[in-house]
Amino acid sequence: MPEKPVPPLRPTIRPPTIRISWTAIAVVFVALLIVAGMLTSYYTVGAESEGVVLRFGRFINTVEPGLHFKIPFGVDEVIVVPTRRQLKLEFGFATQGYLTNPVQTGADPAAEKSMVTGDLNAALVEWVVQYRIDDPKQYLFDVRNPGTTLRDLSEAAMREVVGDRTVDELITIGRQDIEVEALARMQDMAKRYHLGIRVDQVQLKNVNPPEQVQASFNEVNKAQQDRENAINIANGEYNKAVPKAKGEADQAIRAAEGYRFKRVNEAEGDAAAFTAVLEQYLKAPEITRTRLYLETMSEALPETGQKIIVDESLRQLLPVLPLSTKPTDLSPKINGEAH
C-alpha cells in the first residue's frame, strides 16, 4: 500500500512517482492478461487424435487434427483423444516396455488366463484385444474408466466362449472359432456399455492345459505318433514281403511252363526216334531182337560184379556163393527171363 516511509530529503519527487506507478501497474496488469490470454487461446491436435471441446464443462464439439483456438481462462477445455491409434490389451501375459495405453496389461495375468472349459477341465488361455476409440464423446463422458471396463468385459466374454468349448476344441481345432465368437461378444458388449470403443480383433495367444497335466497331453501326442509309427512299420513289412512273393510266384509259373516245353519236346523227340527205329525193326524183327539182346548183354555183363552160371542138371548141387565184402544182390529176378 502507498503509505510507506519516504526519505525526507527528496519531497518534490514523491507525488508524481506514486501517480505514475499506479497507472503503470494497471497497464502492466491488463497487458499481462492479454498476453496470457493469447498464449492460452490456441492449441494443436495431433495427427492421430481428435480434440473434444468443452465450454464451462459442457460438450461443444470435436475438432480434427490441426491448430485451433479456444476461449482462455478455463472457459474452454480441450481433451485430446487418440482416435486413430491402434490400442491393445493383453490378457494372461504382460509385454514389457512400450505400452499403447495404461491398462494394456492386467494386474494379475495368472488369474486372467486360468479358465474352466465346457467339459469342466482347467485351461490357461492368453489373448490380445486390439481396439480403437471410435466415438470420443462416448469414450470420455459415458463411462468412467472405459479401459478397465473393456478389460472386464473381455474377460467375461472370453470365459463365456471358452465355457462352451471342450478342452480339445480350445487347444487344437477351435481356436479360430473362439476368436470370431469372442470378438462378436466383445463388440456387442462394448456397444451396450457405451464405451465409444470399436473392438477390431481378438487373437488367442498361448492356449495350454495347466502345467501339471501338460505331460499327459504330450503323452496323447506321443501315442498318436506311436500309432502312425506302428502302422508304418506294418505297412513296411507288407511291402517287403508281398511283392517278393509275387515275383517268386511268377518265377515258379515260368519254371512250370519251361517244364511243359521240355516234357512235350522230349516226348515228341522220343516218339520220333522210336517210330524211326520201329520202321526198321518191322522189316526184320527176329534178327533185330537178337542183335539188340546180345548187344545189351555184352555191354551190361562186363559191368556186373559177379557172375555165376548154373546148369539145370546140377540142381541138387547147391552152389556156395562166395560172399564178398560188399553186399550182394541175391534176388533171382533176372534169371534169364528177359522174355
Partner: protein, 323 residues
Amino acid sequence: MKQGCIIAAALALAIFLFLVFSGSFYTVHQTEQVIITQFGQAIGNPITEPGLHFKTPLIQEVNSLDKRFLEWDGAPVAIPTRDKTYIHVETYARWRIADPKTYFVRLRDERSAQSRLEDILGSETRNSIAKHDLIEIVRTDKNRQPLHDETIKGGQTGALGILPPIQYGRLKIEEEIKAAAAEKLAGFGIDVLDFRIKRVNYNPDVLARIYQRMISERLQIAQRFRSEGEGESARIAGQRDRDINEINSTAYRQVQQIRGEADAKATEIYARAYNQSPQAAEFYAFLKTLDAYHKIFTKDSTLVLSTDSDLFSLLKHTKTKGE
C-alpha cells in the same frame, strides 16, 4: 491520502463482489450431475445439464455426482455350487446414479454406494451360485454342439469331448442375480446396467482332483491310440499273410496245372508212338527191358545165370532152337 483510501475501498468492494459473483456461478461438467444443498438440505431438482449455472451464493452448496457408468468390482467369492464343487468367483457390474436425489440422501458418496453394492450383489451372487450346478455357471449356450477333432474321434471315449447339458446357463444366472439386486438397489437410486461373472476357477483344494481326472482322461486317449496302432498293425500283418498265401497257392495251382498238362501231353505223345500197332507195343517193351538191364547190372550185383538162358543157349548145344 484520501485518494489512496478511495482506491483501497474500491478494491475491497471489487474483491467482495467477485467473491459473491463467483460464488453464485458454478459449472456442471459433461460427466457430472449436481445436487444443490442449502444448509445441508437437498433442494430443487438435480442439475443434469452440463454448462454454467447459477445459485444463491454463500448459503447454497454444490454437490457433484458422477453421471457416467461406474464400475463395481466384486470381491472374490469362494463358495460351493449346488453339486458341492468349491469355486472362486469374481464378478463385476456397471451401474450409474439414476436418481441422484435419492442416491445423495441415502448414500451421500460413492464409498458407501460401493459397500452397498458389495453387500447386495455379493449376497445375490452367493445365493444364485449355491442354487446351481457348476456346469450352469460355466456354460452359456445350451444348444451348442462341440466340434470333434477327426484324429481323436473314433472308439469309446466316454464323457470325453462332450459338453454336459445345461438348463439355464451363465447368462440366465447373471440375469437372475442382476434382477434380484436391481430391485434392492433401485431404492438407493442406483441402476445396474450389467452384471457379469468375470472369472470362475476351481478352489485350489479341488484342483489336484481335477488335474488327476484330466490326466486319466488323456492317458485313456493315449491308450486308445496305442491300441489302435497295434490293432492296425496286426490287421496289416494279417493282410500280408493272407496275400502271401493267396499268391503262393495261386502260383502252386498254376504250376501244378501246367506240369500236369505237360505230363499228360507227353504221355499222350508216347502212347501214340508206342501204341501205333501191336508190334510197336511189343517192341517198345523189349527195348525198355533191355534198357533196364543196363541200369540193373552194376558192379555191386551178383548175377546167377542158367545155362538155359538165351545167352548161353550155345554153351551146351550148337543146334538152333528150331531144330
